[in-house]
């Protein structure tokens, strides 16, 4: 005990002296006073940070959960536990992926589905955002359009498939129409909510600064509703993918939904699961693009 204390006192003295020595130099170098502290080289720092970043417990658990799902999937398919008796195993899907993904067929499917999404979603934005803005801006526009809108909205968009096939002679047109319809409702509704949620203070403040209605519309309402508009677009994008897959399965043509359905008919089961994965990846990609656009369009939002 006594020894420990003396050692402690001694080390404190040493530290003080070290500090004094450093003080004389004008700059206190604290690293001398803390025994365990050591300056790491840049490479060491990078490795420590990245290794710790990748393999901390939190991330390990996340990776583990994925690994467990794949193992379970392999087990239930190997031992043919119902309802997985005819489900392909991860191994088969992997082999199919290696063969199929680099093919032109796959590329064409992605291009067709993406093209339909892009077209339908664009039309939905071009009509839906101005409509939502006008509904929120002008009571008469809202009174005139909102009841129709609200009575059509509860109809599941999928149930429009037969009607749209009758309405449009070309398959392509009916698919784009269904995509448009899927994205349209959430875009209009969220734009309207966005306009209505703009704080009255901003509008009064703008009036007080001498603005005319057009300034309020373009400088207050539009940026104020923008976060909500992007929420609507994100939700709309999700529904657009639902609609493109459903419509392609029914109406045919090229496309990821059609490819997945066709694989069922051709008894190419691994490709069904592969198709599902590709659809998921494409959906994820498109919402990432939207998120990126949102941060670019609203630089002030990143500071919240």
């Amino acid at each position: 005990m006594a020894q420990e204390i003396t050692i402690k006192i001694k080390s404190e003295q040493e530290a003080l002296e070290a500090g004094k020595a450093a003080d004389d130099g004008g700059q206190v170098d604290w690293s001398n006073k803390i025994g365990a502290y050591r300056e790491y080289s840049a490479l060491e720092k990078f490795l420590r940070r990245s290794v710790r970043g990748m393999f901390n417990y939190s991330n390990l658990r996340k990776i583990l959960s994925l690994v467990i799902i794949v193992i379970l999937w392999q087990l239930v398919t190997t031992y043919k536990i119902p309802p997985f008796t005819r489900v392909p195993s991860p191994n088969e899907v992997w082999k199919e992926a290696v063969a199929f993904i680099p093919s032109t067929h796959c590329l064409m499917c992605v291009i067709f589905s993406m093209g339909r999404i892009y077209l339908g979603f664009m039309i939905a934005c071009l009509i839906g955002i101005p409509l939502g803005l006008m509904m929120g801006w002008n009571r008469n526009v809202k009174n005139f359009t909102f009841p129709t809108f609200e009575s059509l909205r509860p109809i599941p968009v999928i149930s429009w498939i037969p009607l749209s096939v009758i309405m449009f002679p070309l398959t392509e047109h009916s698919i784009v129409f269904l995509v448009f319809l899927g994205a349209f409702y959430p875009i209009v509704l969220n734009t309207l909510l966005g306009v209505e949620s703009v704080r009255a203070d901003y509008i009064q403040g703008a009036l007080s600064l001498g603005s005319k209605p057009r300034h309020i519309f373009f400088d207050i309402i539009l940026p104020g509703a923008l976060p909500s508009i992007f929420t609507g677009m994100t939700v709309g994008m999700g529904l657009a993918w639902v609609m493109v897959v459903a419509a392609e399965m029914v109406a045919g043509g090229y496309g990821l939904g059609y490819m997945t359905w066709e694989s069922y008919i051709l008894i190419a089961y691994p490709r069904i699961i592969l198709g599902m994965f590709i659809i998921g990846a494409c959906g994820y990609l498109s919402s990432t693009v939207l998120r990126y656009l949102a941060t670019k369009a609203m630089p002030w939002r990143s500071l919240f």
């Binding site: 203070d201 901003y202 403040g205 009036l207 007080s208 600064l209 001498g210 207050i220 609203m298 002030w300």
Partner: protein, 277 residues
């Protein structure tokens, strides 16, 4: 101190009834007062007494049910005219209304550029100049969310001043600030008032704040808001923190304290009754 020649506000028997759910509520009852050009009027009253309604009428957001409000010989509010809120009577709001999607400088320049009274370059130059006086150099390109709440308030006052208003309407602008920031803001506002000589109407529920800042303090009754007491504050300017401990300040405060407390008590009790219903 530059004495302003414009910004004279006269309210003549102003009343306002508002009708939210078919129940007529008399918010402001027969208020008459005058704010002389270049003077500082503070309005004190319990919450819900119609202070903000009164300010909104001057600003041109609410139409009075009876009475008229004149600014420099022009009627700005009466039951029969169309309201025109404008940059001659700029409001600074209690919750802050800086546009979060514009940087500090863009917020400040927005008014004159939008109205077309200044070119973009002129507005930027003037905005920068006033921001500099307000000690806000270096944060011109920040977004409002990125600066402290005290700075936000100053930016908002600067944004109002760039328009060269006749009268500055401040609706409890320092309500959400902490006590220390508040005292800094008081000093800032006093300096600004001394430097510009603008007419200021300031709403608050804090009697100390009102006496410290204003030339006259208008104590309002609880709803319906009426004039209860008008306190002439003869404290010399320029004022500073020491003013708050002078005998005259304490005397003025004591004179008004009972009146304010009585109204606050009434408002409180009525609040309880309304909840019990």
């Amino acid at each position: 101190m530059a004495k302003a020649t414009e910004g004279n506000v006269v309210a003549k028997h102003v009343s306002l009834v508002y009708d939210p759910l078919g129940v007529n509520v008399l918010a402001v009852a027969d208020c008459s007062f005058e704010i002389e050009a270049g003077s500082f009027l503070a309005i004190v009253g319990p919450s819900g007494c119609g202070k903000t309604t009164l300010l909104n009428m001057i600003a041109g957001f609410d139409t009075p049910t009876e009475g008229e409000i004149w600014v420099d010989g022009a009627c700005v509010a009466s039951p029969s005219i169309r309201l025109t809120p404008g940059p001659d009577r700029v409001v600074v709001f209690q919750h802050g209304a800086l546009f979060p999607w514009r940087t500090v400088l863009e917020n400040v320049c927005w008014g004159p550029v939008m109205q077309g009274t200044m070119s973009r370059d002129e507005a930027v130059e003037k905005g920068k100049e006033i921001l500099k006086i307000a000690g806000l150099e270096g944060c011109e390109n920040e977004y409002p969310m990125n600066i402290s709440s005290g700075m936000q308030r100053r930016v908002e006052i600067v944004r109002a001043l760039v328009n060269e208003p006749k009268i500055l309407l401040l609706d409890e602008p320092f309500r959400a600030l902490d006590a220390m920031t508040k005292s800094v803001m008081h000093q800032y506002l006093l300096d600004l008032f001394d430097a510009t000589g603008k007419t200021i109407m300031f709403i608050t529920h804090d009697l100390d704040e009102a006496i410290f800042l204003a030339d006259r303090v208008f104590v309002m009754t609880t709803r319906p808001g009426r004039l209860k007491q008008m306190i002439e504050v003869d404290l010399p300017r320029p004022r500073n923190l020491k003013t708050k401990v002078t005998d005259r300040f304490i005397q003025l405060r004591n004179e008004a304290l009972d009146a304010v407390h009585e109204e606050a008590q009434k408002a409180f009790e009525r609040g309880e009754r309304e909840m019990a219903k």
